[in-house]
Amino acid sequence: MTEHVNISTQNACVDFPIFDAKSRSMKKAFLGKAGGAIGRNSSDVVVVEALKDITMTLKEGDRVGLVGHNGAGKSTLLRLLSGIYEPTRGSASIRGRVAPVFDLGVGMDPEISGYENIIIRGLFLGQTRKQMLAKMEEIADFTELGDYLDMPLRTYSTGMRVRIAMGVVTSIDPEILLLDEGIGAVDAEFMKKARVRLQKLVERSGILVFASHSNEFLAQLCNSAMWIDHGQIRMQGDIEDVVRAYEGDDAAEHVRHVIKEMERENTP
């Protein structure tokens, strides 16, 4: 393990240059309900301020849930925290091995077998071929695909692909785990199994940042929450408090219920 797994950002901003936007139609910068602020940079290129002045420090044991509107900047924030986007202004330092789970389909080759895809995906996540071969049996077990793993991936259904992706991600030991929503598309029974594995994975990993619209999922995996609005941190704190401010009392009540239920399950 890398010593002192941590993430710290200081006034980090992420501005996307939009080179093909008609600048005339955007004479004035404006703000909408969804999406970041639109402005111009010094060289007169239209920019979208996806994230603005993000200052946060995460250390080992932090499990943060992100809430916010579509386009508020949750996914961009995850990409900032993974090191894909380096801040255009301000700074971000990320220490630790990052495992991002954004799009389960990326890096999958439809023409090669399930086995090969498992190995390639593992390599993408910083594992070696040898490590992946050692985990193969466990992953094959988890995916329940059996001999089907020898078939080319193009013959798989969406659900089967998600199983492979989930199998690989949950088999590695990341220090920083970044989860984006949209891990749906699998049957309920498998999801239950995946959830248990996901929870174990979260326990193993040093830091978790999780963006989801499901408060239930959030309450199950995280121990604090952050509300992202217009590319800024609007509020951070207890899941219940943040959800109350963002969605109202009913949702907060539900979160409290889920947390209580989990506590009951954990204390036999």
């Binding site: 946060m56 995460l58 044991g61 990052v98 993408f124 604090s224 952050m226």
Partner: protein, 290 residues
Amino acid sequence: MSASAIESETPDAPAPVSDSQTFRRAFKDLRDGLNQRELWLSLGWQDIKQRYRRSVIGPFWITIATGVQATAIGILYAALLDMPLQEFLPYVTVGLIVWNLINASIIEGSEVFVANEGLIKQLPSALSVHIYRLVWRQMLFFAHNLLIYVIMVVAFGVWRNLSWASLAAIPALGLIVLNALWVSIVFGIFATRYRDIAPILSSLTLLLFVLTPIMWTTQSLEAQGGAVRDRAKIAELNPLFHYLDIVRAPMIGQPQELYHWYIVITITVVGWVVALLALRKYRARVPYWV
């Protein structure tokens, strides 16, 4: 655990300076990419296997395609330029194989980041992984094409011209690989920002293909004497001529001249300086631009 898990730093702490635009990070990117060689080695192979999946001959279609092209050009131009076929055909073949390597480095190099948009935006890995994968794939193509060379060496008795000096082709190829790397980095970065560069380059390489002595020889120009002879000098201004010659001359056992090496080495050094500067300044911008 509660809100204390996330804490803002004290406002008066000195703001850490971002190190995105430093040489340290540029070198780190190149090094991290090398460390992930298991990844790009298998991806490069897959790219080739992918293209020829379910075909019986598989990747050897690369060999056949180049062989047919070289033979057609060779026979036609040997007649046009009045050159003996057993000399001219190996010349064209080797020229074409090396040209394919250079051409692909320029054209695919300029698309390397755009083509890998999905991976760049989803997985935090070194940018150089995509560069290494591309150059490795070109090397594999080149290796398949070398088979034609081997056949020519035997069939046309080229082996009679080969000597120890022919081994110079190996460091020459090393230089070409080094150049393919910087070309992909520089063109890749700028073509991602300015999308007109890739189409400009593909037209330009077409032009260079005709201007570079692949289908013709500088000797045949010089042999004509007079004004044409002077024009042969202009061919020397084309840098690709020198790249081609340091590989081709040893491979077909022609006399080698040192000044080609000086020119290529100079361009290599300058190119890498530009590549490192581009990596330092724009490496972090590439995910924003793709």
